[in-house]
């Protein structure tokens, strides 16, 4: 017997957790001497009040969709992939190599190639921790953390010693050629007399991210592999009994996860920066953790949570611009969301389960 109705598990608990995080964030804003209501108003107008704001919100949301899906897929196999940051960095390396070495005739072909390259590089970076977890029992959380740092060192080395154009002081690659520039929302949706999304970085990769949400949903709930991943995540012994190989599932789930994290690079490296710089991910890999937890590891949940975090990111940037509240407020909110939806889940869940059990008893 279920302890509570499904809707409570899927909607009520995340909402209560979010509410708790919001209340605490408001207290933090109060404590540093600002008005939380004014702050929220400013965030809403800054992030959602114009197509420019939306352009940034959706750009950030695109990043978070990829990294959120990456964490979510791994969660289904009960693996905690904390290495999205490193995998996304390596994805950026793949995109940069593809864009700089091959003269692409058109952006659409370049985008397909970049998707493949970024996914391949991201997956490759997840492959070693996956192999070590599956075959040697090395804890995936620790190895993926270590691989984040190693990725940063690899990227640093590649940019400073190999890919930096001659004579440049800046540790970054050359700009990608014109033909690889992805269409931005501005060029896609503006008409001659009505320019929208002016100067905002949102680009066509947003739709790739939405497509990725669908593909992941179909994969997890509509394919045999997805079933095996979920079965393994629910019970390893049960899965083994059903003839599912833990080694195979661990490695495949991590490859998909790493590939998704790597694909973030088509948005931030190819779509926005149009070159590879140091620290291109800016923590988006870690936000994927909050997004996946908040979205209950369901692609639609991830989509909504990514939008929410996109809003928080753009709103936070506006706050930093117009008030004394620094951008780091978003990091605090992100921490609180991870805390309440992840670590303190039982704190919200236990009293609710009691409540629902009590209500059911009275009904009988």
């Amino acid at each position: 017997m279920e302890k509570m109705p499904k809707w409570a598990d899927v909607i009520l608990i995340p909402l209560i957790s979010l509410l708790l995080a919001a209340i605490l964030s408001a207290l933090v804003i109060l404590a540093i001497g600002e008005n939380p209501i004014d702050a929220v108003k400013l965030m809403v107008t800054g992030a959602l009040g114009s197509t420019y704001g939306w352009g940034y919100t959706l750009y950030y949301a695109t990043n978070f969709m990829f990294t959120g899906l990456a964490v979510a897929v791994a969660f289904h196999a009960r693996l905690f992939n904390i290495g999205g940051e490193g995998q996304a960095m390596l994805g950026g390396l793949g995109v940069a190599i593809i864009c700089l070495t091959i003269p692409w005739p058109h952006w659409s072909i370049a985008l397909l190639a970049a998707c493949a390259a970024s996914a391949l590089f991201g997956a490759a970076w997840a492959a070693i921790p996956a192999y070590l977890q599956a075959k040697r029992g090395s804890h995936i959380v620790i190895t993926t953390i270590m691989f984040n740092f190693i990725a940063a060192a690899v990227l640093n080395y590649m940019l400073v010693n190999v890919m930096k154009p001659a004579g440049s002081q800046d540790p970054a690659t050359a700009r990608f050629p014109e033909a690889t520039h992805l269409p931005s929302f501005q060029s896609m949706f503006s008409t001659a007399d009505n320019v929208v999304f002016r100067g905002a970085p949102a680009n066509i990769s947003f739709f790739v991210a939405v497509l990725a949400c669908f593909v992941v949903w179909a994969l997890i709930w509509r394919t045999r592999l997805g079933y095996e991943i979920r079965a393994y995540g629910h019970s390893e012994t049960g899965a083994v009994y059903a003839g599912i190989s833990p080694v195979r599932i661990t490695i495949i789930a991590m490859l998909i996860s790493g590939g998704l994290a790597g694909m973030m690079a088509i948005n931030n490296v190819m779509g926005e920066a149009e070159r590879l710089v140091l620290n291109p991910t800016e923590g988006a890999g870690f936000i994927g953790i909050a997004v996946a937890l908040m979205g209950r590891s369901h692609p639609f949940g991830v989509f909504l949570a990514a939008l929410l975090f996109g809003f928080l990111y753009q709103g936070g940037a506006e706050l930093a611009l117009w008030t004394q509240i620094p951008r780091e407020l978003i990091v605090v909110i992100q921490a609180l969301v991870i805390l309440f939806t992840g670590a303190l889940d039982n704190m919200v869940r236990m009293p609710l389960e009691k409540l629902f059990l009590g209500m059911r008893k009275r009904a009988e």
Partner: protein
């Protein structure tokens, strides 16, 4: 002779850089030996670094700063305990949350209190831990070999450095020679057995997490008030994770932890001093030195060079049988 002088300088810097790693590593050792994984060492250090520097800057007393640092780190430890012991949540996720909480709150509060772009004012005078000079350090420094080793390498560190290295035998003694230590190790291997013996699993684990908080607090205070003079944004720079790496490298044992931290400190000191190292034609780039602690840890974890096996009940919340 020039080589010798350089060697002494690098080793001296190794000791300074190893100290925060060692304190954080021993902190993690207590927690993980009791079965509570802690990837929030970084966050606790960062929080302590900020509060120690902030209070030291405001009051002018580094000792009050140290206390404030320890208190703030303990608070985060309490949160970790609440999430992972009381509410039996995921210890890893709780650690991640604590890291972000510290990284955001420190800058937020620093900006609100000092308006210096997320840093504290520079500390001077009584606001910092001063180096302690051993007796006769000055007069012995001219003696060849022994002189520089005594006066440069061993003498002239702040008190927290000596505290950190004294914590190694102390940790060993507590873990292996006291009843508390035996129980603490047992609770990380087989909490049900400890419970059967009538000892509180929850109490022991909270005690371990609290010790972890105190040590992380000292580590953070050392960073901001001894190694450097004041707090800057993200000043822990991954040290909490290097300490975690050292802990695995040491296979959760105190003396080995010291050697692992000294090794990783040495790597940091070399990277700091030499940048790219030219070994007769083969240049080792500085990034290799940066990444080496992590690479070594992965190799150790992979079990190719002696397998690292964590405490058996690590990461598992304890549910009392009903």
């Amino acid at each position: 002779m020039e080589f010798f002088v350089t060697l002494i300088q690098v080793l001296d810097s190794t000791i300074r850089l190893s100290t925060p790693l060692l304190l954080a590593c021993l902190a993690g050792l207590f927690s993980e030996r009791a079965g509570i994984f802690d990837i929030g060492l970084e966050g606790k250090m960062l929080m302590a670094a900020f509060f120690s520097a902030a209070i030291a800057a405001v009051t002018g007393s580094v000792w009050l700063g140290l206390l404030a640092g320890i208190a703030s780190s303990l608070l985060l430890s309490g949160l970790h305990g609440l999430a992972s012991i009381t509410f039996r949540g995921n210890q890893l996720i709780s650690g991640v949350a604590i890291n972000f909480l510290a990284s955001g709150l420190t800058v937020l509060i620093a900006q609100s209190w000092f308006q210096q772009g997320g840093r504290t004012p520079s500390l001077f005078g009584g606001g910092r831990f001063e180096p302690i000079n051993f007796p006769f350090a000055e007069s012995l420094s001219s003696v060849p070999i022994v002189g520089p080793v005594y006066s440069e390498l061993l003498s002239g560190h702040s008190i927290l450095v000596y505290v950190a290295f004294l914590m190694v035998p102390a940790t060993w003694w507590v873990l292996y020679r006291t009843r508390f230590g035996l129980r603490l190790r047992a609770v990380g291997e087989n909490p049900a057995a400890v419970d059967t013996a009538g000892v509180s699993v929850v109490g022991l684990r909270f005690a371990a997490v609290a010790i972890c908080g105190v040590l992380c607090g000292i580590a953070g205070a050392y960073l901001a008030t001894a190694l450097q003079a004041g707090f800057v944004k993200e000043m822990t720079a991954g040290r909490g994770f290097i300490a975690l790496a050292a802990l695995i490298f040491a296979k959760w044992r105190p003396w080995h932890a010291m050697w692992a931290c000294l090794l990783f400190g040495l790597l940091q000191a070399i990277a700091l001093r030499f940048q790219n190292i030219d070994l007769g034609g083969i240049v080792i780039p500085v990034q290799v030195m940066d990444a080496l602690p992590y690479i070594l840890t992965v190799v150790i974890l992979a079990g190719f060079v002696g397998k690292a096996v964590p405490p058996r009940a690590g990461g598992e919340p304890y549910v009392k049988e009903r």
